[in-house]
């Protein structure tokens, strides 16, 4: 029997022990059309989040235990209200993080905006030829490097996010050196997921079991190589490790999950460019939508908990049990499996409580 020191899961307090994140997609507008983009962002989009609605929701969510925002997109720096958004969220008490392609950081407006950013992650797809190929634009690599120079000159903490593909995995050693030599605090390796534009453009680039092992081994080599100097975050888990520590991915497996509070159950909620609020991750089945920032009520979380949390708990548990049963697949992309299960649940094993 175990007893935990401190309240490991306390969602509200002066010193956050685990961040509860609102991932915000304020626009799908982007200056690039990356081959692997999970949100299929592109220059042609014009829908943007209403800033007033967003501010109202951020105040509500902060009072309910969320304390970190991760602005993604599209390209966040194409959202005209980004500076105001980050200034506001900072004043509320949020930690501000961004994921960006790094190509639009040279303007004075961008530099002002960066003053309100705690950590910015820049997407890098590999050495220049591969980066430009995946980014679908010649010169993208050079402009990204210029963005890194801006961050370095501002002494702004930054990370590098890399989507690992069958074409890029053998550049991981290079990538570690690139990130470290540029002074990155974080190198995050996220496996390619077959979602969004990747379904059409990278259908043949599926990461098979052998390659997953190679990425896992190389990722941990980099963790060890840069230990104490740069965080290397690998968003892949070994099946044995996941089954031994299911609380890594599931709030339902943590003691705090008994509180029934949304922020104790879900590490992340997502606001799409339409204003829809989704649980868990971008791409999660919208049937389980929490609401919309344009018309949410002050009981939106409680209503969601009563209506959908039993379903979502089943989806988490079923995904874990499937991983446990499949002993031929050692390396697991948890989020991809969970999203897939959120759709499968509608047609198979899990009743929808409504």
């Amino acid at each position: 029997m175990q007893k935990e020191i401190n309240s490991l899961c306390e969602s509200v307090g002066p010193a956050p022990d685990r961040f509860r994140t609102i991932q915000i997609h304020p626009t799908k507008k982007c200056n690039l059309t990356c081959l692997h983009c999970y949100s299929s962002s592109a220059p042609g989009y014009h829908e943007v989040l209403n800033l007033v609605d967003l501010k109202n929701f951020l105040v509500y969510a902060f009072d309910h235990g969320f304390d970190n925002i991760a602005v993604s997109g599209g390209e966040p720096f194409l959202y005209k209200d980004l500076e105001q958004l980050l200034k506001f969220s900072k004043s509320v008490g949020y930690q501000n993080t961004l994921a960006s392609n790094g190509m639009l950081l040279k303007s004075e407006r961008a530099k002002r905006t960066l003053d309100f950013v705690d950590l910015i992650a820049i997407s890098v797809d590999g050495p220049q030829p591969l980066h430009d190929k995946i980014r679908n634009q010649t010169g993208a690599y050079d402009k990204m490097c210029q963005g890194l120079e801006v961050l370095k000159n501002m002494d702004k903490p930054f990370g590098i996010i890399h989507t690992v593909t069958p074409e890029s995995w053998n550049s991981l050693i290079w990538l570690g050196e690139f990130a470290f030599s540029n002074g990155a605090k974080l190198l995050q390796l996220h496996p390619l997921e077959m979602y969004g534009r990747a379904i059409d453009t990278l259908a043949s680039e599926v990461i098979d079991e052998d390659l997953a092992h190679k990425i896992f081994i190389l990722g941990h080599y980099l963790v060890s190589k840069y230990n104490g100097e740069m965080v290397v975050q690998l968003d892949m888990l070994h099946r044995d490790y996941l089954l031994a520590h299911p609380q890594i991915v599931s709030g339902f497996e943590r003691s705090c999950g008994q509180s029934g509070k949304l922020a104790d159950l879900l590490d992340t909620i997502v606001i799409e460019e339409s204003g829809a609020i989704l649980p868990v991750s971008y791409g999660f089945n919208p049937t389980y939508s929490i609401g919309n920032i344009s018309n949410f009520t002050l009981s939106v979380f409680e209503d969601f908990e009563k209506t959908f949390i039993p379903d979502i708990k089943e989806i988490f548990n079923y995904t874990l049990s499937k991983i446990g049963e499949n002993d031929t697949r050692d390396i697991v992309n948890w989020n991809e499996l969970l999203i897939s299960e959120s759709y499968a649940a509608m047609t198979s094993h899990i009743p929808v409580y409504r």
Binding site: K3, I5, N68, A70, D118, H213, K214, I217, H238, N335
Partner: protein, 91 residues
């Protein structure tokens, strides 16, 4: 790297190596997390930090039945302190 790249490590060995890594990780100090697409691993950056051995000696005496712990520096650039949490066996 060359062996991995040229297929010099077969499927069985790949699985063995991965399993060995997991075995080591299970003895580690920081429990891993995974992050969703487009969400920077911010909390990992917060967790990251060197731990003063003297501090640990005081906090974790040799006979403490400590199973696992994590350390949380506050702030990225200039952490001034850290929180401590852990799991012990209860009797």
């Amino acid at each position: 790297m060359a062996k991995l790249e040229k297929g010099g490590v077969d499927k069985v060995d790949l699985r063995k190596i991965s399993s060995s890594i997991v075995g080591l990780k299970n003895q580690g100090l920081v429990i891993d997390q995974v992050f969703i697409k487009g969400k920077p691993g911010f909390s990992r950056v917060h967790i990251y930090g060197r731990v003063d051995p003297e501090f640990l000696k005081k906090m974790v005496p040799g006979n403490t039945p400590l199973k696992r712990f994590e350390v949380f520096p506050f702030g990225i650039i200039n952490p001034e302190g850290f929180n401590f949490k852990g799991t012990v066996e209860s009797y």
